[in-house]
Symmetry: C2
Subunit: 556 residues, 2 copies
């Protein structure tokens, strides 16, 4: 894994394969230079804090772990210092790793986890559970100094333990990564159906602890809809629930583990709903004459109970980015070049307002055909034209590549990030318009041209997720301040519009100042009460989900 960017060391953004991207970005962001050279990232430049090692704790660890399960190597400490948000990568690339743990431990069984927690409780050591390390909300760095901090890397607990095929449930260890999980489930002919953008670099435990959503959540639900039972190890014992479809057994304690962001204990395994692998899968692209019509079409699909596995509607700017990102001479490009321009002429519409809608269909062949017909009929009513199969194929082939762009742009002194939320249908457009305007104004205030884009996805009966992407040239020497100002503006706009702090990226450090506004002060107190009950020694990821009384005092 790269310590300075997204994904594996050998993989990076391939600018040649996307020749339109950089010219587009340069023009949009007002970048005049073009003499950027690729940097070689040397670990030696990273300043690691002197490790604080409690010898009594180490002695205990060595009594039940193999030497290969304990690491204090610099590279491991750096990799486990942060997630992959802008703040994380910006700091690491400048050699700052103050959030690094003093030690990394790799449990291989629930027993390892139990004993590690017990030892940590006895020695007042902090534990931070670590899955794929791909979180972008600041869930992973230590928040306290003066205590030994240990990153608990779960990747070795990666087995599918049992699959009940007739009941469509699977018991799975939490440290398993997306591709491995799907491969092991594939042997039983089933899928979890959870494909977040981070799929290649994130784990089941991470998904559950952060209330993740996959691209196909419209069909398969969000991760919280998939959990049937969990096992979570805490310093007070193991919380374990039963494999039953639904219950009326008081407060649903599954939901104490889901979204707990490592603050209560370590989720060691979960029993998940799985699904027969779909016989057929199809992704199609459509162009809508404008954003509003696209949103109405999405809502009409929900109303008619017509549920494609994925719908993702880009606003005009995100559409332009998608077009710039297209492989050379793709069908989408051709469509844009001729068909769509012709269409526009006929309709008298303006290209800059066109919106790309990507839609995936899954199920039996008959079902997919039925969904396709029904969806297209609705889309047509709102003026959409189909771009055929190739635009869908282009999306499928590059869908996990997008996060690499940030590294490429960071190399070019450009800050990019995302902020996403969800709201009810009646509030989506005002939220979109006001937040876009505020984002652009806030970026402009820092003296650089803004780029913002938005997509609507993850539809529900009562609303959808609204996902903003933004980018701008960095103000030299004030990069972090500039970023935080923009981030704060967009998050505040979500809350001011009645929306939530995040639809699927978790609270972490970045969204913590808005937690009390989102779940109410008493909600925060309730979470703190659970924390006191299950982690009385405050050894699990301290500081998470507990806003500071002056919320922005420790925000950065």
């Amino acid at each position: 894994m790269k310590w300075w960017g997204w994904g594996n060391e050998e993989v990076e953004f391939n600018a040649q394969a996307h020749p339109g991207f950089w010219p587009y970005a340069r023009a949009e962001l007002g970048i005049e230079r073009d003499d950027f050279t690729s940097r070689e990232w040397k670990l030696e430049v990273v300043e690691l804090p002197e490790p604080l090692l409690d010898e009594r704790f180490l002695l205990k660890l060595r009594s039940f772990l193999e030497p290969s399960q304990i690491s204090n190597q610099s590279k491991e400490r750096v990799i486990h210092a942060y997630g992959k948000g802008f703040r994380d990568l910006f700091r690491l690339r400048r050699g700052l790793a103050g959030g690094a743990p003093d030690l990394v431990v790799y449990p291989e069984s629930e027993r390892d986890v139990c004993l590690t927690l017990r030892a940590a409780a006895e020695c007042d050591v902090m534990l931070i559970p670590f899955g794929g390390g791909s979180n972008i909300s600041g869930c992973l760095e230590r928040t306290e100094a003066g205590r030994m901090s240990v990153s608990l890397d779960m990747r070795r607990m990666r087995r599918v333990l049992a699959v009940d095929v007739p009941s469509c449930t699977a018991r799975i260890e939490s440290g398993i990564f997306g591709p491995d999980l799907e491969q092991q489930l594939g042997a039983y002919g089933v899928t979890l159906g959870h494909f977040p953008d981070s799929f290649l670099h994130s784990t089941l435990g991470g998904w559950i602890a952060t209330r993740s959503a996959g691209m196909q959540s419209d069909r398969y639900g969000k991760i919280e809809d998939m959990v049937v039972a969990v096992r979570m190890v805490t310093s007070e014992g193991v919380l374990a629930t039963r494999t039953v479809p639904k219950s009326s057994n008081g407060i649903d304690v599954n939901h104490l583990c889901i979204g707990s962001e490592g603050t209560l204990g370590v989720i060691t395994e979960a029993t998940m709903r799985v699904h027969p692998r779909p016989e057929s899968r199809l992704v199609r692209g459509y162009l809508f004459p404008e954003f509003e019509g696209g949103i109405q079409a999405m809502q009409e699909c929900v109303r008619q109970e017509c549920k494609p596995a994925m719908v993702r509607l880009n606003d005009p700017d995100k559409t332009a980015l998608s077009l710039a990102f297209r492989p050379p001479a793709s069908r989408l490009s051709n469509a844009m070049g001729s068909l769509f321009k012709g269409y526009l002429r006929i309709r008298g519409l303006a290209l800059p307002r066109a919106c790309l809608m990507l839609t995936a269909f899954e199920g039996s062949q008959a079902e997919v055909a039925h969904q396709l017909r029904q969806t297209q009929a609705i889309y047509r009513r709102f003026g959409a034209i189909s771009l055929g199969e190739s635009s869908g194929k282009a999306f499928e082939s590059t869908k996990y590549d997008f996060p690499h762009i940030r590294d490429y742009l960071l190399d070019r002194d450009v800050t990019t990030d995302v902020s996403e939320t969800s709201t009810v249908w009646s509030k989506i457009l005002p939220l979109y318009r006001d937040t876009t305007a505020l984002l652009r104004a806030t970026i402009l205030e820092s003296g650089v041209p803004p780029w913002t884009g938005c997509h609507i996805s993850h539809t529900y009966q009562c609303g959808a997720s609204v996902y903003f992407t933004f980018g701008f040239r960095q103000q030299p020497g004030r990069e972090m301040e500039q970023y935080l100002r923009v981030k704060r503006a967009v998050q505040q706009s979500f809350i001011d519009h009645g929306a939530t702090l995040s639809h699927h990226h978790a609270v972490g450090s970045e969204h913590l100042p808005w937690l009390a506004a989102d779940i109410s002060q008493l909600g925060v107190q309730a979470v703190a009460a659970i924390k006191r009950g299950l982690d009385p020694g405050n050894i699990m990821n301290p500081g998470r989900l507990q806003p500071h009384p002056n919320p922005f005092d420790r925000w950065m």
Copy 2:
């Protein structure tokens, strides 16, 4: 409301309309007598404990409530003493009302609730929220003596506050009863889609506090799937969440309120998902040659994503009861009399093994037609024959009447009750067979013939609810002991088979001994931690969701 039975005073089981029922019950239960006369229930025979009234608390109450909002009348105290379980009605009918509150308060606004909680906290008074009073798991009686106990009857908070029709959400006060709720929502053309057996006599707040399920949960979900946001008043303040479809804001605090059984605070309102009123609704009856095939057909429907709004498969005994319960000369009876017997002859099957499946379809006319075709194709593969429309109509016209039978049988010295659970598809049949055998054996041990029946309903991708009904002649003088022995056997069987203590009837007193086995000891600790955090004075429904260290010590 009756204090001695189910529902309103003027409504009772109409034996004339169901002439086959009593002969069937007599024969099955081995009842020789037939000289039962209807009793007149005189409130005066009920022994109410001397009310413990804290004058300081009363003074506070009177400072913000109208006199009409406070009652210490005997009738009100008796009605608020218990729910409607066997234990509840058996005790009341014998004049025992030890669980009665000292006072009943009727809040009319969230402010009334807040001030009542504050006063209670200041005076160490217990509060027990009360909706329709129809709970059958023992959620409503006081569990402590020596402190003043107040029943907080929510029925006056019964407004639909706002409906966002395009987003399909409705903000609703918690004290509203089912029919009132549907009527008010009807003005907006929407429905909540929540129709539990108790629909006529239960409230939104009660449904949420107990994780209720309606008959059409297959289509609309269980109540926990319908809650978008809640407001819950606690002695520490108001917990309030946002009207957003989904979030990643840490632990989902909605789920601390859902299922809290009145132990944390008072749910004053909730924002619920609602649905356009279905254009069309159809209920049909089918007969399956045997239970196993019916279950397989249900599972196949789920697998094919063919989801009728309701499916309810009776086992052979429950089928026989349904036939006995039929109105005279109904189509079902005719079908049984001729068509089905003919069918049996052809197939060589035995009538005693036949199973009635009731299935409801809802949606647009096209959708209903499609569902009906798809479902019937599946049912036919498992040997089912359709009983046509009249069996469905018979079900529709009597669906809320069933609970009245218990009163009728109690009048005849017969104990009846229900226990229900849920489990995964692969475990349904073993659970059904073993629990039925155990139930019958346990009843037989008390020297009387057993009647047991079961139905499978509320299907999910991974399983379904399994619902047992049982009845037997009372052992004079040992009625409660006899009941508890049977109840304990069936609940223990659920837990031994990996199932849950209840699918939709709540924990209450009756299921409390199995809570730790169900959600683990640490789950119980977690719930206790939330309780300490939100209700430090332990004023809200004390004793609920907190099992005794020796779980059966206080069980009765």
